[in-house]
Symmetry: C3
Subunit: 267 residues, 3 copies
């Protein structure tokens, strides 16, 4: 039996938690309490509890942005789980030296664009340590799984080996000669529209168009005047539609899935 | 003099914090700083700072859901305190092996449905360690009380023994032959309406009605189609009115206090 | 080479984080991960990630309220940074025995009303440990600076000595005989309007007026009836316009910058 994490380390294991529960109802508090009751020397880190309700795609982005920065051995507990109580599986896997626990519903899709999953396990529904619950597997199943992993529980005790497949459809951006066509995939808090267009396709002399508005490509937000639109390569290496000190989403009524066209600026 | 917590433990004391302050104004940050200045080896856990402003009932639910999952010796600091500066008392008590600190205004009512309070103390308004403040007892009084408890301050130094009584009125659900009448007590973030009707009164062959809408009883959210209403037994062992991947509150204009009728499904 | 923090302490360094990122996009999670990857024994404390987008003034208040309560040696990482990618400087300085890291854009103005900054450094844009980024210096620059400071990096490695000046204009309150004229500077979550009028100018027998409404001065919120306006001295030692168990902002349509007049009550 091999453990997921090294033993004998003096440093506490990190459990980073991501949910769509908000905090006010106490559901997240309950999960934290249960983890600390099982394993009292973990370090709990809140990634986010403000994922929009049932927004699997939003959770997938949050995890993909944050997780790669964490140290090896970190356990990521992700509970955005609209199908709780149905037949959807709970899974545990390793990727990039870290461990991921959550429902097999697409919340890990964006992460798995970048990392190959290893040692994927379908979580046994009932063990001495946890069980499934019809409405709240975050508390009954996933939190105890994460806590027992932090205590060094062997993967073979978690469940049988399996594989995971992407769940969320993603339409890649297309390049047709000097024109690129993509879509708005998601918005961040500032109302910036993150597109499906990777930085590798973009030249600085281009301009992006969406819903009739024109977003000249710039280096940074302050390169244009207050309230003016721009497009830039963001920290995800994607083309992003923005408005300086404003919200591109609100200013132009942008929506997820909107088509974005990028062309040479002189057209 | 007996201490509230055992001594000699190598594990840091947990202080779990619940407020209605939000975080943006820095009030919660101030409390955290003061605690860490008094006792630098506590583990701070955010339960919630998103309790709706002055929503004592919401805080009572948050604490009751979360606290029972925490390990023995945890200190719960609760500051939802609209009557700060008036004559309302600050209290400290033990329940279920944990310690609770906050205003005596009903924030602990739902917890005390389940636990018998022990060693209840009315907090002295002024000591060398803390004092009352007309607008912000969270910082001046309750945070230092929690921190000094974590350092092992004796209960006799906190204040005189007293008792606590429930502050929030709660109308129990009624069963009349095969019909049950209750009310919506609170909503969670997803717009699910938590009713006053306990699971023990419910048969699977029943249907719930509220504001003219019909909520068939089901096992889990995904048992009905997207956008359809259902009622289920939730993790609080209460009947809950829900809409799959939606908000029952928004879909049917439900409000706190609405009457909920549960009857055999074949009527 | 002198280190910013004392060595040999058994207590972990605290890094307190304040941003306007919200948590749902994963940007804050990424920063936390990077810090923990650089320095695994820090204690991360969330001050706030709910500063309104690009609200430098709101961040300045949050820091000024919270930071003074933290223990010596705490590192405050503040990322509200609308001019990221432009020529604005990143700075590190010491004040009140603590260390502050962030953009030089006014986020520290309210703190520096109270403390004299020491050992101010302009952060080198590129080192082996960090570099500037056109859209996300929180991750690329400021988080690693804070983490390396926690590891004991010498100030001379951070950048050259410099000075900081206030960036946000603040119009002081004026006293003309027995009349005081100030402005609403900011609102807190409860809709209380914090004015520019310091407690030292106020007598209990006065009344405040704003937008035609009258706010009698009182000791605490519960001194007036539910829904009634009042003015009181708050925990910032400023005159605050409030409504008991309500929002003064919403009730009277108050806005930042509104004039507030305080006069003897018998006029």
């Amino acid at each position: 039996m091999r453990s997921f994490r090294g033993r004998g380390s003096a440093v506490s294991t990190i459990i980073a938690i991501t949910t769509d529960f908000g905090t006010r109802d106490g559901y997240v508090g309950a999960m934290k309490g249960r983890i600390l009751s099982i394993c009292n020397d973990v370090v709990l880190v809140d990634l986010s509890h403000e994922i929009a309700a049932q927004d699997i795609s939003g959770a997938a982005w949050c995890i993909a942005r944050a997780a790669p920065n964490f140290p090896r051995g970190t356990i990521h507990l992700v509970v955005v789980d609209p199908e709780v109580g149905s037949g959807r599986r709970g899974i545990v896997f390793r990727a990039g030296g870290q461990i991921f626990v959550g429902p097999d519903n697409g919340v890990f899709d964006r992460l798995l664009d970048r990392y190959q999953p290893e040692d994927v396990r379908a979580i046994r529904s009932t063990t001495p340590w946890w069980s499934t619950h019809s409405t709240f597997d975050g508390l009954a199943l996933f939190a105890p799984v994460a806590a027992h992993l932090a205590r060094g529980l062997a993967p073979s005790k978690i469940g049988t080996r399996t594989t995971i497949e992407p769940r969320l459809t993603q339409i890649p951006a297309l390049r047709e000669r000097d024109r690129i066509v993509g879509r708005i995939e998601i918005f961040d808090r500032f109302g910036n529209g993150i597109t499906t267009i990777p930085s590798a396709l973009i030249d600085p002399e281009m301009v992006a168009r969406c819903r009739g508005a024109c977003f000249p490509i710039a280096d940074h937000y302050a390169a244009v005047e207050e309230g003016e639109p721009l497009a830039l390569i963001d920290s995800d290496d994607r083309l992003e539609l923005a408005v300086r000190n404003g919200s591109a989403r609100a200013a132009f009524g942008l929506e997820r899935g909107d088509e974005v066209d990028v062309e040479p600026a002189d057209r």
